[in-house]
Symmetry: C2
Subunit: 587 residues, 2 copies
Amino acid sequence: MDRSKLEDLLKRRFFYDQSFAIYGGISGLYDYGPMGCALKSNIVQQWRKHFILAENMLEVECSALTPERVLKASGHVDRFVDWMKKETTTQVKAELIDILNRLDGLNNKDMHQVITTYGFKSPSTGNDLSEPVSFNLMFPTQIGPTGDFKAYLRPETAQGIFINFKRLLEFNQGKLPFAAAQIGAGFRNEISPRQGLIRVREFTMCEIEHFVDPDDKKHAKFSKVANVVMTLFTACDQVDNKGTKTMTIGEAVEQGIVDNETLGYYMARTHLFLESVGVHKDKLRFRQHMSTEMAHYAKDCWDAECRTSYGWIECVGHADRACYDLSSHSKATGVKLQAEQKLPAPRKENLPKAVFNKANLGQKYKASSKQIVTVVESYDVDQLNELRAALDGSSTYPLKINDEVFQLTKDLVEVRLVESTVHVEVIVPSVIEPSFGVGRIMYAVLEHAFRQRDGDEKRLYLELPASIAPVKCSILTLMKKDVFNPLVDMVQEELSSHEHSFKVDDGAGSIGRRYSRTDEIGIPFGVTIDYESVDAPHTVTLRHAQSMQQIRIKISELGELIEDLVKNRRQWADVIKEFPVLGAAVE
Amino acid sequence: MDRSKLEDLLKRRFFYDQSFAIYGGISGLYDYGPMGCALKSNIVQQWRKHFILAENMLEVECSALTPERVLKASGHVDRFVDWMKKETTTQVKAELIDILNRLDGLNNKDMHQVITTYGFKSPSTGNDLSEPVSFNLMFPTQIGPTGDFKAYLRPETAQGIFINFKRLLEFNQGKLPFAAAQIGAGFRNEISPRQGLIRVREFTMCEIEHFVDPDDKKHAKFSKVANVVMTLFTACDQVDNKGTKTMTIGEAVEQGIVDNETLGYYMARTHLFLESVGVHKDKLRFRQHMSTEMAHYAKDCWDAECRTSYGWIECVGHADRACYDLSSHSKATGVKLQAEQKLPAPRKENLPKAVFNKANLGQKYKASSKQIVTVVESYDVDQLNELRAALDGSSTYPLKINDEVFQLTKDLVEVRLVESTVHVEVIVPSVIEPSFGVGRIMYAVLEHAFRQRDGDEKRLYLELPASIAPVKCSILTLMKKDVFNPLVDMVQEELSSHEHSFKVDDGAGSIGRRYSRTDEIGIPFGVTIDYESVDAPHTVTLRHAQSMQQIRIKISELGELIEDLVKNRRQWADVIKEFPVLGAAVE
């Protein structure tokens, strides 16, 4: 893989290029040109079909502008940071960040300790390093004219789904499990964006949040994917410096290598999706997070990694995030983000219940009383027990609402046990989250599709699956002649009526050179109009770029045949059984 | 139209709702739920087909994060402001902004003058108003860790296209005219967001920039739309308090009411698009901007306005922006954003040419000399003539590069006339810009689709075109019985194989009540599985929501029939000729 040749092609044919180049460019920001835009849009559409439509997921589209409070609750304001070293070069910063990323979860004191312990020095000066400076990866802004309503651009689309959990559960008629999904932009103010599309500041994500009973993570459709063969790189094997394992996802879940069926189901579906858009099976592995990499609340995480010239890059994360996100937003807002599940039979239970002395409360906290009651009444059993324990023990319980703290004491509230008949059980669902980086997947697909014709290193081409190719068909004329013009229109109309994208190349050059131009941008099929096309019934040649084979076909049959090929309902190998292959064309 | 009933429906069935509601909500930000998300996505897909695919436009996707320099050049930093009055209520601010909007183009001194002249007072206190405070409508942020690289979220997607003009022209093999398009988010920090989806802070836009020779704005496909009948509200008729005119776009262009064919072509195409997604023809008009509304550089502007319960609202703008945008970015960057057109025959011309005295220049401006030469060498004929005039006249010419000013004098540079053979003519293309607000269009469509069944005001429904309905088909069983389960699976598979979205409602209630639930969200077709379905050949009833008529059909034929209906290849009126209508169902 000659990366510079691929990059040259992608720039020259405007798949994508640096944003604001005429203004000097901004690193980490890219504009997609017509080819990149169509390719990306096809990958996203395929994703929508493969996940949202096929699984009847609830798709949402939430605001990218996000108030600070939301991202405080989610942990992003405090923990979504990178570390900068003062007085070092960009190069050193980047290397250091790579090291430090692996030490994620340390605060800056601990990190300084690590630096001291390992004796890291500034490679340029040999001096000791100063204390690391933390830097939040989110872009700050303000909402409203006064500028005091602090907000950030969302670093992921997931939070919008969690915040809408109640509405979505209601939409799903209160039933678990269900999955919601979002396709949208994410923003990260990377310190040192690099590696083209791999580490950028603005990107498209596709995220799924699958809400499920924490005690029952079986998946109804698991048997449909149980036989998918996967390449797994377990945490243990990474520690032990061993290689990857190849097994079915059914075996992996059975052996406890992958934590549960739902997580396994999504890993297998991701595997199938990535293959369908052109990722090569032998350049795909699923790497398990080591316990040091995972957030404290996460149960099990697996990254789908694609091999590229930059090494193995993470393209899709799969995380069992337990109930962390819903609980955090519940806590911050006092709104219960939970589901009810009917018990097999009703049962009697002694349940804690908060009983307020409203006179005392009103006297002490006046207008805030109502809010205090609302928050405590929204408490679940665990929270009420905690309140009871606090009142019994230290006899005071600090209740934080927004930024105010109210001290609850026994003369204000008491927690009593009351016998109740319970019909349903209240649970905070666990969340299984597959999260796709579209730009990274697209880059991996482009590397995996990049080829050169045997014996001609100038004839570069992209072998993309027809379903995601930016343009489905080229239209060429044997030479520039007026007699061909109405036929070009006829072919265009036939292709348009089937909603196929096409590109007319009536430019200069031999047919071979023009095919070569269309191959370069991965156009899978090529129509050529020649003298034989002029007489009715009007026929043209149809070229299959991958094999360079050609057949002759009526213009009126083109649309349907190409549709069948693009949708994988028919294979080229079968087409040439019906239509004889023409003698080799001069290319 | 009872707006509160529609709003209740849209909230209850989660088309869209306020963002961050559990955190108290942020005005002007909305989250789209599954129904709104699908509806919006279908409108956008229809737009892509109607414009990008049908016209072979060059689609791009550019960064939303935009450096300040770019938006300075485009005029947004200085002119994209709203005006706030200190010490007035929100209500007053809003009213005042409405008045002031009509006076756009005034600076704050002039505006203060207007206020004084007209004697505007604060309605709450009766006091004089303080001087207006300008407030930029863009969201500020910083790129990079040091925080000193100022940027904004783009207020429109158009600038990304202008900045990529060179790459796009090259992609189009240097030929004019061509159109580029972008679908993406725009952000405006509105002072007082209101009217639901009409005035929001984050929104999806679809924008087209059609680049054309300023001296030839004919459109090759104009004859295809010339007969489209439009409702036009001209600037003159607005001034004269007259009503709208109804005429074909062909007549409007011929009579000079619409400035040129290209502008007229897009207006007609927009008319057809809006109708196709469900805007009612009799609630659609094209209103011409009055000269006071237009930016100084604009030639002619027409807004497509839809009538809603909020009055006439602008949904699509159509502007002939002349060469303003390309010229502005050229000037700011020194990069020529222009096209070459081959002359019918070469001609001799005396052309100005800058000749530097490099010794003097180097002595005076040292390291900056090279940059000065580059910028001046990029000058076009007009700029060189201006330079010559300046040197001849005041004998000094201030050259601004970024924020530095260099004084050019005769001893540094001279402009000579040199005879040259000219083969091409260099032009800065004019831009015709149709710009679509997707949220506003969607809201208009929802209002126009909102109905209630005769004689039953509780039975509300949405009559959306099948092509944009969020869900294409409902699947109901006569009652909850295990015997129907395999048939439900069979129908699901049949619909999935044709990529139709569907919603299974096996919940409680009579068939009639369940149909009513599906009508409410605009599902155009409903399948019911009954006892007759159990025996082979398995058949079901198919209900057409709009007419409430039902037919009986084989499950295996459902997918194709619904596809034909959704794609408008077949009408229901024709379907019932083939399949007899069943006796009225109990609803």
